[in-house]
Amino acid sequence: MTPPSRTTARETKLRVQGVNKVFTRDGKSVNVLEDIDLEIRDGEFVCLLGPSGCGKSTLLNIVAGFTPPTSGQVYIDGEPVTGPDPRRIFVFQERGVFPWLTVEGNIGFGLFRLPPKEKARRIAHYVKLVGLSGFEQAYPAELSGGMKQRLEVARALAVNPDMLFLDEPFGALDSITRLLMRSELLRIWEAEKKTILFVTHDIEESVQLADRVVVMSARPAKIQRVVEIDIPHPRDISSPRYLKLRDGIFEEIGLAHKV
């Protein structure tokens, strides 16, 4: 008997309905997003994959409530998104941590409504969860790139959001750190049961992480295909299934898989 897949029998968390985005620059209109329809279930890990500058970050900004769509609507838990909300936290590409605050100060940033004791307990928990023990009093300038990124994830998780939006969070890291960060993120995702929407231009990254990969076309970005990654974690990245899914996406994007 196999248990039902994690991606079935869950409620819809996020619904993107007919979203278009047009930017006007110097009197010229640029179509960035075209007719985006997307549903994400509760607890799902979804990657938005596409070439740089295709508009996937714009979509993430719209979903986060930072930018309004030109037309269409985003619903979370059935409610239309009208602005940013602490129940869903955006993790930036790099340097999103506040350089004037210590590790503790950053993690505690969103906890201003909690009594001091509870706040301290939460901070301690997340310092440990992201492996920053011993660096509580350190400032971001004293941390490595990978540590800063983990700090930002901890700051996001500390407010106990039900969704995380990550915008190429590991893009600025070296490839070894990036690999470590991916397994860290999966470990945290499995421990904390969040719904994650993760923007990347890295095909391997998306196949390693996501339950589903949403492949987007170049500008104006449309959803080209949605690929279900039906491999349980931890994933063997040399297994035939992994390679087949990965190569399928390479083909979808129109890249010959040769260097």
Partner: protein, 255 residues
């Protein structure tokens, strides 16, 4: 270049000694009866100390600078935050600010006297004016330079505008503001001396002008000048210390 440990203190002292030597030789060779020798200035300083004037005048000058500067901070920083936050307000106010800014505080002396009379308030007002503009402008540009990412991150955690200004915009702009605060303090110290020359009867500026007017005591004139310079140096060193605080030092690193 790596300095040896004694160099940062010994080299400036050697320069000072050289200047004192040239001064001493100059006084002797020229045979001047008016310009004092270093030793006479030293005795002048000692006289000021003995009469209790040194501390009193220094304290008076510092108090004036402190009051005017503090007022400028209390008005300039909130106003700068507001103007930096609302671009439309900045557009409305900026031409006026840029027009008032280049007017030397000394040109305001007659206006100050009309408004506040000859006295302490006038001096404080002049210091306020002199330090207000650098603080206002550096706060405004500092706020405008805050990366949008920081504002978005702050807003994402559900902060009100007031909390966002206090907890994100202010600390993010602080490194830039500190440069303005340092410049402002330097100008304030320049202006207090000038203000005391016209408007009050105590302080280091008063000491300089009064020593010349009442009895041509050039030893005290020079002593006053040296005190002014040393205190100015001390204030600037103090402000540079602030730049090294960890909560603002990030803004001065080029990473």
């Amino acid at each position: 270049m790596q300095l040896r440990r004694w160099e940062p203190t010994v080299l400036p002292l050697l320069t000072a000694l050289a200047v004192l030597a040239v001064w001493e030789i100059g006084v002797r060779v020229s045979g001047t009866k008016v310009f004092p020798s270093p030793a006479e200035v030293g005795r002048g300083l000692e006289e000021l100390l003995r009469k209790g004037l040194l501390w009193r005048y220094t304290a008076d000058s510092l108090l004036r600078v402190g009051s005017g500067y503090l007022l400028a901070i209390l008005v300039g920083i909130p106003l700068g935050l507001a103007l930096g936050w609302y671009p439309l307000a900045a557009r409305a106010a900026n031409p006026l600010i840029q027009m008032l800014r280049p007017i030397s505080p000394l040109a305001w002396i007659p206006v100050a006297i009309v408004l506040f009379g000859v006295g302490n308030e006038s001096a404080v007002f002049l210091i306020f004016l002199a330090s207000f503009f650098p603080i206002l402008v550096s706060t405004m540009t500092g706020v405008r330079g805050v990366p949008p990412m920081f504002r978005l991150a702050g807003a994402n955690f559900g902060l009100s505008i007031a909390a966002l200004l206090r907890r994100v915009v202010f600390p993010a702009a602080l490194p830039h503001m500190i440069v303005g605060l340092r410049i402002a303090l330097g100008i304030a110290w320049l202006v207090v001396v000038a203000a005391e020359m016209i408007a009050v009867d105590s302080g280091l500026g008063y000491l300089v002008i009064d020593s010349r007017n009442a009895g041509k005591r050039y030893d005290l004139v020079i002593a006053g000048m040296i005190l002014i310079g040393l205190i100015g140096l001390g204030l600037d060193i103090g402000m540079r210390r602030l730049e090294r605080l960890k909560s603002v030092r990030w803004g001065f690193l080029n990473d």
